[in-house]
Subunit: 254 residues, 2 copies
């Protein structure tokens, strides 16, 4: 069956989009069929995957009730498709308020494509509003990119409470798929002490694979390609390839 | 009179809060009376300024109509006060929808404190929702922290359009106070090329002072003090002190 994973963290700039793009590419490179759903009005996952010319996007699905299969775009990566986002999506948070079952719009929209993909990854905006809630209601589990910084650590409590609230109210199977440490710099004391605290508190839920700070990861989006395509040999790409493998092992272990 | 400056950028993690905390401290160190309004449900500006025990916060002002003077907290920095935020604020985006003049709640709430402060800085969440809109409607000008990265640059068009929309609809005096380059690393090609592009396009609106990437800036919040207090001699603090001086020169030049 299809596994739906929300990539979420309300803290801004922690590597949600970079993880969605490069983990999806890593999974596709392992022969998985993957769909990335861009739920962020910034549309960074869409441009980072080279998808730019589209007439309809996820806004039309959530608000207009358009069939999701009509807005799927192929990326240049074999086995990797994208449901793009546009700036209209910023209005969706307000427009969703008056719609019935507003929290389940994405969940219902994904029904026709279940079985066609091995993984569906949703890239969330930096907030706990109705777009992220839609992602959490539709998801089997949540992958949390975590920057080893104080403000990012401080935000984890709120994120865990929100996930718990969604689990109780809408999605009893929702669990934490894993926590991925991003922009990691082992020479930095703060980073090492945040890592130690996170591993102590969250234990095995923290991936062994750590994503290093690596400028090549931030250069790739300006060429509209994932880092694994831009520079497969760099430390950042290698880390995301390892992350994909570790995820498959964890998923396989069921 | 009092100058109200919104520190805004919908891109996450670009240094909005770090700029709000350390620019406010730099201005206070120059003898200015400063109020920081934390409009982010993450509450990072509140904890970064060491303000943690409070009964009411900006949520009670925006939604409950409580007098803003009742929620002002003194910080440990002479001349620097804080209107703190709490996680309740996340609900405000939805609760504001049905309130009259929802976009002007902060603007109206600040009226009683005009004249008591030289500067009011509002720290915005990473979104263009009703909280950021409230900050833009209340503001005389917008200070935009900009990370020299591709996704951050890509978001500038949308931000400028939003500011223009607010100017036309609600606040005809709103202008761009300045753009501050943050987490700058001169050895990084991407960073240098983004800087060149930004300076070419925005000209004098880009501050000469550039904030370098400096780990001491990210260590300070874990002690609940601004970097200027934690380590005044470090490159990050020195840059924010220069930024405060450059801002005063710009404002004085009127
Ligand atoms: N491991 C890394 N090393 C270096 N740069 C990185 C790394 N991961 C991400 N970046 C860069 O850091 C910035 C923030 O990352 P990204 O945009 O993926 O975070 P995000 O959580 O999706 O942000 P937002 O909250 O705005 O959606 C981007 O410019 C990205 O290119
Ligand atoms: N110049 C800098 N050098 C090194 N680290 C920095 C610098 N500026 C900010 N940081 C760190 O980077 C992270 C992001 O900064 P900050 O939280 O201020 O951004 P923000 O735009 O307020 O984020 P959000 O969008 O989540 O509100 C924080 O952990 C902060 O400590
Ligand atoms: Mg993102
Ligand atoms: Mg912030």
């Amino acid at each position: 069956g299809t596994r739906i994973i929300a990539i979420a963290n309300q803290k801004g700039g922690v590597g949600k989009t970079t993880t969605a793009i490069n983990l999806a590419t890593g999974l596709a490179a392992c022969g998985q069929k993957v769909l990335v759903v861009d739920l962020d009005p910034q549309g960074n996952a869409s441009t980072g995957l080279g998808v730019s010319e589209y007439e309809m996007d996820v806004y039309d699905v959530l608000i207009g009730g358009v069939d999701l299969t009509k807005v799927i775009c192929a990326s240049d990566i074999p086995g990797l498709d994208v449901v793009p986002a546009s700036a209209d999506l910023a209005g969706a948070e307000i427009e969703l308020i008056d719609i019935d079952h507003r929290e389940a719009r994405l969940n219902n929209a994904l029904a026709p494509v279940l079985g066609k993909y091995d993984y569906i990854l949703t890239d969330c905006p930096p907030a706990l509003g109705l777009l992220t809630i839609n992602a959490l209601v539709a998801a089997d589990s949540v992958l949390v990119p975590l920057q080893c910084e104080y403000f990012a650590l401080e935000g984890m409590t709120r994120l865990m409470k929100s996930i718990e609230r969604i689990r109780r109210a809408y999605n009893e199977d929702l669990d934490i798929q894993g926590i991925v440490l991003t922009m990691h710099d082992g020479r930095n004391n703060l980073c090492r002490s945040v890592e130690a605290e996170v591993r102590e508190y969250f234990g095995d839920r923290v991936y062994r694979t750590v994503i290093p700070r690596n400028v090549r990861l931030s250069e790739a989006p300006s060429y509209g390609v994932p880092a694994l395509v831009y520079d497969l040999a760099c430390a950042g790409s290698q880390a995301y390839a390892r992350l994909a493998a570790e995820m498959l092992r964890r998923e396989g272990a069921g």
